[in-house]
Amino acid sequence: MQYLLMIYGNEADSKTASKEDNERMYAAYGAYTQAMKAAGVMVGADRLQPSATASTVRVRKDKTEVLDGPYAETKEQLAGYYLVEVPDLDAALVWAARCPGAQHGTIEVRPVWSM
């Protein structure tokens, strides 16, 4: 089954992080991604630009409305994702727990709706 691991974290914290902290984080994510690839479970992954760069779009009565900002203002923001292919939820949860982002933030694990 495929699962989307969504990484939520506090952007304010990462803005104030030191250079060393950032380097440590890059290294941790590098190792994590490597391990995922080696295990053959990674389908895709991306880091996202901060939520301030987000725009939201909806069409109401044939009129397109575009708003500045993320869908919801929350304490933690979506910072990136991994898409994994694993046998079951337990395996997905293990990978989520290994994610460096789980140390400070929260990982939401959602099964992909298979068609």
């Binding site: 089954m1 699962y3 046998p87 079951d88 939820l89 337990d90 997905a92 949860l93 099964p111």
Partner: protein, 416 residues
């Protein structure tokens, strides 16, 4: 004697129900282990199971109960498939189950026992913890949502809806029906044991469906303990529940509640106490201590009264001291205060209760807190306060037998 026959009738009905539940649980687990679709497996078997519950007490238990259930289920399945010619998802799912059922020969080793795996799926950390016990009761034992709802004090519609949602999550989120790996076992096993204990606790006081729930909980725990003989906590929980169950005949006298300290030890079921002691002894030899073993040890000290004629409260207090460091629960804290009252005197017990009450608002509507407080106040001679506390306890109790006991106890204090 007609009374005796009646008893026999009740016994055979109860035995038929137990066998029906066990066979049902085996088949649901077997089917859903292959499809992950617990709801569809239940659907496929529900009518056959309902038929078994009505037919078996009359005809006796069939030689091959699972074969009986499968045969009836297959027949219903064929009917259903005929009726449901339209090709929707549900139909496909049921069709798939029908296929698996056609292959499965009952009482054939191929129907492996997956009930433990089903229990682990039901008590998965990704499922709301409050639903662990209800889910196990429904899927492994076939209790209907209405019975479960009344045991857990929720409306039947709400309970049914929650169970449906939880089963959908098992299927859609891909929770596997498998036993956990060695490194995750302790944590996952704890979830299963807690769910079993929750089911038992629901069956403890309620005089209606209570005994049945308690018996089934003990049976589920022995299933777990048999499979994980190295789990000291599974043995501990089994011992704890058996000690409690051993006292069931003594807990009521002519419909009136009898507190543990006043129970006739001759009415305790000694075979259950002996089993409990054996499990606890085996648990102790495994060298890992846990909350269920300590709680069982406390019950073991109470049980010793049948031989010694007295209760060793100092030993009980020592166990509660350890337990309080492991479990932050008001139940444990209140019981520890009661033990302090027995060992060091009622004023010390009251001081311990005051300490718990400080900064804990939820105790305001916790019956055992007020009952314990009332008892200690009465012993301390603070009659007016005791009467108030008894009133609070009476107002918070829903078991009529316990309520009338508290009322009688209140009039014994010379306060008004």
């Amino acid at each position: 004697m007609p009374g005796l026959n009646n008893q026999d009738g009740d016994d055979s009905r109860a035995t038929a129900a137990v066998v029906a539940r066990q066979s049902y649980g085996r088949l649901v687990a077997f089917l859903s282990a292959r499809t992950r679709d617990v709801a569809a497996a239940e659907d496929a078997l529900s009518e056959a199971f309902a038929a078994a519950l009505t037919v078996w007490p009359e005809t006796g238990i069939p030689l091959k109960p699972e074969a009986w259930l499968l045969t009836v289920a297959k027949r219903k399945q064929i009917d259903q498939n005929r009726r449901q010619a339209s090709d929707d998802g549900a139909h496909l799912q049921l069709g798939m189950i029908a296929e698996i059922m056609a292959q499965a020969r009952p009482n054939d080793p191929a129907i492996s026992d997956e009930r433990l795996a089903l229990m682990f799926a039901c008590a998965h950390p990704a499922i709301d913890q409050r639903l662990h016990a209800p889910l196990i009761l429904q899927t492994v034992l076939g209790f209907d949502a209405a019975t479960i709802a009344s045991a857990f004090l929720v409306s039947p519609a709400t309970m049914a809806q929650r169970l449906v949602r939880a089963k959908a999550k098992i299927k859609l989120a891909g929770i596997s029906l498998r036993l956990p790996d060695r490194d995750e076992l302790p944590l996952r096993l704890d979830g299963v044991l807690q769910a079993i204990y929750a089911a038992y606790a629901r069956g403890w006081s309620d005089p209606g469906g209570g005994p049945e729930l308690a018996t089934e909980a003990i049976w589920l725990c022995s299933l777990v303990a048999d499979f994980f003989p190295k789990s000291a906590e599974a043995l501990g929980l089994l011992a704890l529940m058996l000690h409690g169950e051993a006292r069931r005949p003594a807990r009521r006298s002519g419909g009136v509640y009898v507190p543990l300290s006043e129970q006739d030890t001759g009415a305790w079921q000694s075979d259950m106490i002996e089993q409990a002691e054996e499990h606890l002894w085996r648990a102790g030899r495994l060298g890992t201590i846990g909350r269920f073993q300590i709680e069982a040890a406390i019950q073991s000290v109470h049980a010793a009264r049948r031989n010694t004629g007295r209760t060793d409260w100092a030993a009980i207090l020592q166990f509660y001291d350890v337990l309080a460091t492991m479990v932050a629960s008001p139940v444990v804290a209140v019981n520890r205060a009661v033990a302090i009252g027995e060992v060091h005197g009622s004023s010390h017990g009251l001081a311990a209760l005051d300490q718990i009450a400080r900064g804990n608002k939820s105790l305001a509507d916790y019956q055992p807190y007020w009952a314990a407080r009332a008892e200690l106040l009465a012993r301390d001679g603070r009659d007016a306060e005791a009467a108030d506390a008894f009133d609070r306890a009476i107002g918070l109790e829903c078991d009529p037998a316990l309520r009338s006991y508290l009322r009688a106890r209140r009039t014994r204090c010379p306060c008004d």
